[in-house]
């Protein structure tokens, strides 16, 4: 069972590798959009990675800015796909 913490770790690992610019440190509450760590193109790339990594399909309804506010909200979005009733 994949928990939200390990999804968060996957998100942070991806950001540390691929995001441009990279803030000096990032954690689960880093404001990704405010700090422009993520933009619309990198959001698509991040989602593509997470879909493959966790074998989920992200529905279009989830592509709203609130879901990409922090690594925590991204992880919660992915976790929701394991339990659509959530």
């Amino acid at each position: 069972m994949t928990d939200t913490i390990s999804i968060e770790e996957a998100v942070l690992d991806w950001l540390r590798e691929y995001s441009e610019p990279k803030p000096a440190s990032m954690d689960s509450e880093t404001r990704l959009l405010d700090l422009e760590v993520l933009d619309s193109l990198s959001i698509l790339q991040l989602v593509g990675y997470l879909e493959q990594r966790f074998d989920v399909n992200m529905p279009l309804e989830e592509f709203v800015p609130d879901n990409f506010a922090t690594p925590k909200t991204v992880a919660e979005m992915v976790a929701r796909q394991f339990d659509p009733a959530a």
Partner: protein
């Protein structure tokens, strides 16, 4: 009053009117085009979609297009806020096996293009009557029997017809005369477009995409266009809430020059010095939808019954494509089909609205759900998004992409009762559309 009799009178000699006349001529039907301006004359709406180019080829005008300095368009690049990111939409056609292939279309200086179209219509047998349609002529049964025209000398004459085609564009001749149903505000009613042309702008680097359309946006409902229209001039325009323009208290030219530098750094880079070579014009309240735009003796074509927003360059395409459908509907009408019906063009209207509704759904999705739009274009519905950009609105529609957009917008489109294509109204009144009022 002097009198002319014709099967079809076309109010307006722009692309909708000229195309209507040409498609009618292909059916062996003669028409009289009433046009008040001497061509060439300035007009906005300069970029063609892929299927618009295909329409121009269908009209047999490709060789003529090649004889003029019209830039070739192979795609559209959209620059996001701060100019950092951009995404590209190629112009693609579909072959007989429905496979995508790279296509090109044109950017046009409308003064030149519209004259080509009108001259071609006349060459194919349409009569050009220089004058202004003043009012429709109504029969006792409410049907439209022609129009009264004031000619260039000021004299009035009647043009009697079996069918009036309203191709008057934003002037919405028949809607203003109360012949159609109500004219409602459209979803972009509170916007204003302010535009001109510049010289010395930096286009894309030399190569196949040099003269592509560029769109820059700063934020929701605040964007600009950059469209090369010949080897020297680039059409530029800014589209913003009218309230924003008013509060700046600048002239149109001052406003445009400042916004061209402030709206997006990539646009500023391409227009280092703003050299306006054309009057700066504006169109407020350009977004509207007219209900019941057909009936006994009349049918509206193109902008004269509906215009949504200029963002994805659909206007010229819609006008010319609709003209082709209109000519088919007109031929049936002149042969006597539907004469007993309250609205002989009911089926045609539904078809036309269905197509434009798809464009509306795409534009609304772009603004309301930009991340989901990006996902659809780049990942999950690439080909079907390209189909909409091109203008393939009738075959294999509504596609999964369109259904996905409607799902996001929580919008249902059904066409089996009279309230199909209900005008959505200004984004300030999402629950109903207001009646359109000039300069609101």
């Amino acid at each position: 009053m002097a009198e002319i009799k014709t099967p079809v009178v076309i109010v307006g000699g722009g692309p909708a009117g000229a195309a209507s006349a040409m498609f009618l001529a292909a059916h062996g039907i003669k028409s009289v085009i009433v046009e008040k301006e001497r061509f060439p004359r300035y007009h906005i709406g300069e970029s063609m979609s892929g299927e618009c180019g295909a329409m121009v080829r269908m009209l047999g005008l490709e060789a003529e297009m090649g004889r003029h300095d019209f830039p070739i368009k192979r795609g559209l690049t959209v620059y996001g806020t701060k100019g950092r990111n951009s995404w590209f939409v190629p112009v693609m056609g579909r072959d007989d096996d429905w496979k995508l292939f790279p296509q090109h279309t044109w950017q046009v200086r409308r003064a030149v293009f519209d004259k080509i179209m009108l001259d071609a219509a006349v060459a194919r047998g349409a009569t050009l009557l220089r004058g202004e349609a003043v009012r429709p002529i109504r029969g006792d049964d409410g049907s439209v029997r022609g129009v009264v025209v004031r000619d260039s000398e000021g004299a009035l004459l009647t043009v009697e017809s079996e069918l009036v085609l309203d191709c008057s564009g934003q002037a919405t001749f028949l809607a203003n005369a109360g012949v159609t149903g109500p004219k409602y505000t459209g979803n972009y009613d509170k916007q204003i477009a302010i535009f001109s042309q510049v010289e010395g702008a930096i286009r894309n680097e030399d190569g196949p995409n040099r003269d592509d359309t560029l769109i820059f946006y700063q934020k929701k409902y605040h964007w600009s266009w950059f469209i090369p229209i010949d080897s020297q001039a680039v059409s530029v325009g800014v589209v913003i809430p009218a309230a924003y323009f008013k509060e700046k208290k600048e002239t149109k030219a001052q406003f445009l020059a400042r916004e061209l530098h402030e709206l997006n750094p990539e646009m500023k880079r391409r227009i280092p010095e703003v050299k306006l070579i054309e009057e700066t014009r504006s169109i407020p309240n350009y977004s509207f939808q007219v209900r019941r735009f057909g009936g006994k003796g009349f049918l509206c074509v193109g902008d004269s019954h509906r215009f949504i927003d200029p963002i994805f360059s659909f206007g010229l395409y819609v006008s010319i494509r609709e003209a082709r459908e209109t000519a088919n509907a007109a031929k049936a009408y002149l042969e006597g089909v539907g004469r007993d019906c309250a609205n002989p063009f009911a089926a045609h209207e539904v078809q036309i609205e269905k197509g434009i509704d798809i464009l509306e759904d795409m534009m609304d999705t772009f603004w309301e759900y930009p991340l989901a739009f990006a996902q659809m274009l780049h990942r999950v519905h690439y080909e079907e998004t390209l189909d909409i950009f091109a203008g393939r609105l009738y075959e294999r529609q509504p596609s999964n992409c369109v259904k996905a957009m409607r799902g996001l917008l929580k919008r249902e489109r059904t066409y089996d009762s009279d309230d199909y294509s209900v005008p959505i109204g200004s984004r300030y009144h999402p629950e109903r559309a207001n009646i359109w009022v000039a300069n609101a």
